[in-house]
């Protein structure tokens, strides 16, 4: 496609500048077609988009789309440079070091926001707590940056001021330690892309992204509508994701959509077209949004592709089966490495958790669902921002086992809190207990600001620090097989007339008896089930 190149060079080919009839079609209309939107003066927004009260947009032409594309890319560049500047520390210059040191520390202390534009305080962390932590953490950052620079130079990759390196030393034990202690924020985008072998992907798919941008420009479907609904719900508290308010000459204030949001829209739309088995899935907005703070949109797009196929396979698929598989692996890990925690989050009277059965893999305990977002958005919104970023550093260097190691670490660290509830001497029922535990599992990680402590707990003081990628892969395979065997069995059963509802009824009646403790022990029940299964299999043959 010739116009693709044109787009890449920033000179749109006139041939595709066909006007979209603005009278009848509203290419990006968010709301139902039943309402007619009064035409707005297009001069009020150079982006062909007036946000108005609630994200409603004007019809825009393809020509304008390209203009807006160019503009948003340029403004985004500016934003990213600004973020970069605020994070960069010129640690080679000894005279300046002290001053910069102080500036880095103080600029954040005197602001309500962190280095990335997120609010420092939230429901779980107060500004005071944040500042307290930041005073020492900012010193740590400067120290680490210096060490990185030395290490890079030693490896023949000297770094220049305010220029992020694009190549990193070969993999080694020492580099892994460096990564675990945190990649300098201003290098993060390049480092993630490098460790995840993003450039390979980029080389193999030259021009693909620009072509996708072109193809998705005017597209409206279920995915794009879902994307529109989530754009403003992606980091709404981050300054860079907010609309920009512009005071016009006549004193009127108009709102312009943030270039980051426009970029995010394009990346998500392109992804939904590129990976139709996923389309758009809520949580991808957060992953793409965080990537966009650190890298340009084409790279962010390919990182999203890499994440969905290599680091979180199946997680965002239409049936979310990958989520269940990952929950299953986490349960196996908990049982293996943190048996005490395992004991608290499962109801021991439940037949699914008796020894020798793995029924919990296909009939997941309700409590495991509070970790859904841990996997789906790779801890965004679960852990504080800085903590999340440090986890991502390790993830792209060490592979997906990191996600399980961090999940285990969180459980390990909250063990005392879980005990406080589980060991309480009350006559409360399991159901109530479980909702209390849910609340702890949900809220505890949000307070984990002290990322260095978390990393030490994970990689130094735990019995799962040696968990290998190979083990995780094997566990995953095991869970996938268990689940598919089970589903096949259910299918066969329904083929011979045992309906899903019958199955549920069977399980329910056994559970009720079990709960009431009037006879049937789990083993007997299993025996009964095994017998039944044998009969069914026999019948099938």
């Amino acid at each position: 496609m010739s116009n693709v190149k044109a787009l890449g060079n920033g000179t749109p080919n006139l041939g595709i500048d066909t006007l979209v009839d603005s009278g009848s079609t509203e290419p990006f209309t968010l709301i139902s077609n039943d309402i007619s939107i009064p035409p707005t003066d297009s001069s009020s927004s150079t982006l062909g988009y007036t946000n108005g009260k609630r994200g409603r947009r004007n019809p825009i032409t393809r020509k304008e789309s390209y203009a807006s594309l160019k503009k948003s890319r340029t403004s985004l560049e500016l934003i990213r440079n600004k973020i970069g500047e605020s994070m960069a520390t010129r640690s080679d210059d000894k005279i300046h070091l002290k001053r910069i040191n102080r500036t880095t520390k103080n600029s954040i202390l005197h602001s309500g926001r962190d280095r990335y534009g997120f609010k420092k305080a939230n429901n779980h962390i107060s500004e005071g707590e944040y500042d307290n932590w930041w005073v020492s953490y900012s010193q740590y950052l400067i120290k680490r940056k210096k060490k990185w620079e030395k290490m890079m130079a030693k490896n023949g990759l000297p770094t220049a001021n305010n220029v992020a390196p694009t190549r990193f030393p070969p993999r080694s034990e020492s580099l892994r330690k460096f990564v675990r202690k945190g990649i300098p924020a201003e290098w993060r985008g390049n480092a993630w892309f490098y460790f995840a072998r993003g450039s390979e992907k980029l080389r193999e798919n030259k021009d693909v992204y620009d072509r996708l941008v072109d193809q998705t420009m005017d597209i409206i479907n279920e995915n794009t509508e879902a994307i529109e609904k989530d754009l403003h719900r992606t980091f709404p508290e981050n300054i860079h994701f907010k609309n920009i308010r512009i005071q016009q000459a006549n004193g009127e204030v108009i709102e312009e959509e943030s270039p980051l949001l426009q970029t995010l829209r394009r990346v998500l739309k392109c992804f939904s077209l590129y990976r139709p088995s996923i389309g758009y899935c809520q949580s991808l907005n957060f992953i793409a949004g965080l990537l966009l703070i650190y890298m340009d949109e084409e790279r962010a797009f390919w990182m999203l592709v890499i994440i969905s196929e290599r680091y979180l396979p199946g997680i965002h698929d239409f049936n979310l089966e990958g989520v269940n598989v990952h929950q299953g692996v986490l349960l196996l890990c908990l049982r293996q490495y943190l048996p005490d925690v395992w004991g608290m989050i499962v109801d021991k009277n439940d037949v699914r958790y008796q020894e020798g059965t793995n029924a919990f893999l296909y009939d997941l305990p309700a409590l495991s669902f509070c970790t859904t977002s841990w996997f789906m958005s790779i801890f965004i919104g679960v852990l504080p921002t800085e903590t999340t970023l440090r986890v991502w550093d390790c993830l792209f260097y060490e592979d997906s086992k990191t996600i399980f190691q961090i999940a285990l670490t969180i459980f390990k660290m909250m063990e005392p809190e879980l005990h406080r509830i589980a060991d309480r001497d009350t006559n409360e029922d399991e159901e109530f207990l479980s909702s209390e535990l849910f609340q702890v599992i949900q809220n505890f990680p949000k307070k984990l600001l002290d990322v260095n402590r978390m990393m030490e707990e994970c990689f130094r003081f735990s019995n799962f620090s040696k968990l290998t990628q190979d083990e995780v892969v094997k566990c995953k395979q095991y869970v996938i097989e268990s689940r598919s065997r089970y589903h096949n069995l259910i299918k066969k059963r329904s083929a011979i007339g045992l309906k899903e509802s019958d199955r549920k009824e069977l399980i329910k009646s056994s559970e009720t008896l079990e709960n009431k403790k009037i006879g049937l022990k789990a083993l007997n029940w299993n025996g009964k089930l095994n017998h039944r299964m044998r009969r069914l299999r026999h019948k099938l043959r």
């Binding site: 709301i31 139902s32 719900r233 977002s373 958005s377 919104g381 006559n427 909702s435 609340q439 009720t512």
Partner: protein
């Protein structure tokens, strides 16, 4: 005696489930909340006439594919609140789907409330009459229009629910006495003279 009730919020993406809960819990409003991924849990104690009840609120992700994750939360809920956006016809059309889904998981053993949210907005496309009619047609316990932005009817929504709940409790109590094994209301004893919050001090809210 403190009675606990489980309330699940369902409805399409972006209709305002989280904002409704936030208005009720903290009496605040933001025009944009981060999208809910998976399931969130909050709980709140409510004082009603001479009664104190504990509401457990389960907030869910609205995108259709998340529906497969929700069943276990609906299974033993006392109340399901189905929310639509009065300016979004699709979200209204999907109410039936959410309703069928609840019935499938929970049968008739649950209070179902239909809520038309965002009543502060001018570009309303679903009239109150349409909302009312649908609620009647599918057999909801009641219908109400709310605005999380200005707080309109939010307290009323929960008060109305609370007022309906003791009936459920009595019904269930009757049934339990009659030998029925499925009771959905859990009760715990709070020793006399001790304020209920104290025994629930572990709560985060």
């Amino acid at each position: 005696m403190l009675t606990k009730y489980k309330i699940v919020f369902l409805g399409d993406q972006g209709v305002g489930k989280t904002s409704l809960i936030t208005r009720f819990m903290y009496d605040t409003f933001d025009s944009h909340y981060a999208a809910t991924i998976g399931i969130d849990f909050l709980s709140k104690t409510m004082y009603l006439d001479d009664k104190t009840i504990r509401l457990q609120l389960w907030d869910t992700a609205g995108q259709e594919r998340f529906r497969s994750l929700i069943p276990s939360y609906i299974r033993d809920s006392n109340v399901a609140i189905v929310v639509y956006d009065i300016t979004n016809k699709d979200s209204f059309n999907d109410v039936q789907k959410w309703f069928d889904y609840i019935r499938e998981e929970r049968g008739s053993d649950v209070l179902i409330v239909l809520v038309g949210n965002k009543s502060d907005l001018e570009d309303k496309v679903i009239t109150s009459e349409e909302g009312e009619a649908l609620a009647k047609k599918i057999g909801c316990n009641f219908f109400i229009e709310t605005s999380s932005k200005n707080g309109y009817n939010v307290k009323k929504l929960f008060k109305k629910i609370a007022k309906l709940l003791p009936e459920l409790q009595n019904e269930n109590a009757d049934r339990a006495l009659g030998g029925d094994e499925s009771t959905n209301i859990q009760t715990i004893n709070v020793s006399a003279g001790k304020p209920p919050e104290e025994s629930l001090s572990s709560c985060q809210c």
